[in-house]
Symmetry: C3
Subunit: 319 residues, 3 copies
């Protein structure tokens, strides 16, 4: 279903909502396109005219300056006009329904919605209802998916490791609440990673997580053994107030990535994190800033990936 929603009748990418159902060909096509945009950031004039005269709306029902900024920058580097709409303070306060908001913006002739929403499925819902010429990109929906984040992670891994079939990747931390983890697991499996491990206490794992195609570990040392890539997840501080976790200190002691812990991994292991990092909560500063960390590199690739997704979905480049 997601494939048919995301691709049009001619097999072109129209929406980018989730990794599921896209297939390895599309993930590679997105990464190849991003590769061609990497050089734009190095140019003196960091702009290409591919989306000139197009209007991209950042439709954020949940505040995320960081994610909004990456999409805004990506759109501007493609020469699009960008409208930032924070719906929490906007029309919904006046009782306008989600679809009425979308249809109104659509009627103004916008070309793309970048949607962030606290509820899973919001971007899909919008995608199912927009006019044929409008594209939707999911910038994070509830616990469900954050596909551009997963793609920039894959892109970063590919740049360093090339062949996914040889890789063991550990994803560590709050898997339960993480839309990023879900998207990463789908992407790694689609790209043929040898093994995907999730490392977390039982309270922070979804029910039947094994069905996603992962090996489960409850011990960090075992989970890191011989991995090629470790992806640390951000621990949402608000989880601490609930009964799921004893304390930050306790979490760090058991699941925090320190230099000592990292010795379990392969010597050339990449350390990744979607950011923003909590130093001393899920990761030690010496690791976050250390030689194996590619955390800031991920951020940079995030612009290229978002440019790629936008340009492909609006038909400005051939996938």
């Amino acid at each position: 279903m997601s494939r048919t929603l995301q691709l049009d009748a001619g097999g072109r990418l129209r929406h980018f909502l989730t990794i599921e159902g896209l297939g390895r060909d599309w993930l590679e096509r997105i990464m190849d396109t991003a590769e061609s945009f990497e050089s734009v950031a190095a140019q003196k004039v960091k702009k290409v005219p591919l989306l000139r005269g197009k209007t991209v709306v950042n439709l954020f029902f949940e505040t995320s300056t960081r994610t909004r900024t990456t999409f805004e920058l990506a759109a501007k580097r493609l020469s699009a006009d960008v409208l930032n709409i924070n719906v929490a303070v906007s029309a919904t306060a006046k009782g306008e329904s989600l679809l009425d908001t979308v249809r109104n913006l659509e009627a103004m002739g916008v070309d793309m919605f970048v949607v962030r929403h606290a509820e899973s499925g919001a971007a899909h819902f919008i995608a199912r209802h927009v006019a044929p010429h409008v594209s939707v990109v999911n910038a994070g929906d509830g616990r469900h998916a954050h596909p551009t984040q997963a793609m920039l992670d894959m892109f970063t891994i590919r740049r360093h490791k090339r062949d996914f079939s040889r890789l063991t990747v550990a994803i560590v931390g709050d898997i339960l609440h993480s839309r990023v983890a879900r998207s990463q697991i789908h992407a790694l499996n689609t790209l043929g990673a040898r093994e995907v491990r999730v490392v977390a206490p039982r309270t922070l794992l979804p029910v039947a997580v094994e069905r996603l195609g992962v090996r489960v570990c409850h011990d960090l040392d075992a989970g890191l053994e011989d991995v090629d890539v470790v992806i640390m997840l951000r621990l949402q501080k608000e989880r601490m107030q609930g009964a799921l976790l004893p304390s930050e200190r306790e979490f760090y002691r058991c699941f925090g990535l320190t230099a000592a812990r990292l010795r379990q991994a392969r010597p050339d292991c990449l350390v990744m994190h979607p950011g923003p990092i909590n130093r001393g909560v899920e990761i030690a500063s010496e690791v976050a800033d250390g030689s194996r960390s590619v955390i800031l590199e991920q951020v940079g690739h995030g612009i290229a990936i978002r440019m790629a997704v936008m340009a492909l979905a609006l038909g400005a480049v051939q996938g």
Copy 2:
């Protein structure tokens, strides 16, 4: 007075503050100009360079993401630079007077203020005090006027009905608090509509509303009889808390537009609404989304009308 304030010595449009005093020639000129911009939205590159290097300031003393968005889009399609200033959170909090705020922005070399203010007359006040090279557009002031909204409504009607002299138009709902209704009444009478009716309970009508040149109805069925166009107004939910109205349900029963009610109107009657709509309060979903509804079309024409007003006021096109 409004005419002399809105037109310069050479008879060109300088400010756009109210429909009153502009005359039929100007309303038609604005619509003709908008007609030429309708095609821009259909182009691959939805931009014309008419206002390149001009700076438009959205000076909003009252939050309205929706209205701000339409002006921002219109300005960007004309290639202007746009500054969004929400004055509630800005200098006035530091005790700076309205005029000092305006004069400061003026000194920075801006070209146009799009003003939204909760008090009637705010845009006129600013227009009387700006430097000769600066234009002011009223984006809604108190209960007084919302002239670009009225013009996009006229434009929508003209596209469907052509000749105003044959039309009976009903405006239904909270006339008392509506700046939109006031501007629509002036525009319809200026354009020579055969009859303008207002349909509302006595508590939601201004004193002596007949003097504006309308027929008053307190019954929706009678009010809709043989009309060519029905314009539903948004019912501000906050009115409900006062003594003016019994309840939403009661209002809907008496003044809500349903498919059954609409049968009183002519078979080709247009259904209009300035948005955002309250489904089940002033209008039934089946009517809002039905075949006679041009509500979303209005939104699209709003961009063209705002482009026209901006381009005319800044002398980028000949009126």
Copy 3:
């Protein structure tokens, strides 16, 4: 130290953080460059392509719509892309450190940070840690400095008076809390002003203010005697609630600039104020709006000065 931080190995301006240590040559170079940008505001198309494809981030840890607007306008007139980030509502709320925020934006390929922060030294701190290709401009840090404001003041004085060595300048008001005053004193002394006076009650003067190279007056009439320029400072209303000052009325009686008071100054004395002004608190309306006032002229020059600083720091013009 500030010189070495602000200039690169080749002696070019890289950051603009403070007037201290820059030297007369650089202050004059900035003013000369601003002179060349003054004409841009008068052009039909108020844009030059000097920073096309560059990304300027307004990184504001303290809200200041006014200052943010001037930098945004200046950047847009140079054709840069602008990102506005209000950090109070952004990632720091999620516990991300200042440097992580900066490094993330840096990784996205931005070229310049315009930094506003309530703590003295914040812009220096960021400048010491950014990547080699990134520039930092201080848009006000705590009580420390506001160098672009001081430069636009110097530029305004130079346009009217030409030769600083003949000038006596009085700075009047809350010197203690003013970052503007500190930067002005440094700039005036660097440019060789004959005499810089500070005029304030003892409670609003920093300890040992004489060491900055100023003459201290506690009496306004004496302080204004034969001055060529008087710069009034804004009285922060929140100071009134403390023990530093008896009342607004009392302050105005002793230190408010009225037409009568101004007679102590030279007949061609300029009246300046960084804005926003408090009418009837530190300055009478008749003086603020009078013939000697250049307050609004300062605002206009502020755009040219900020364009100059941005273009110099990013190497788009030769200093």
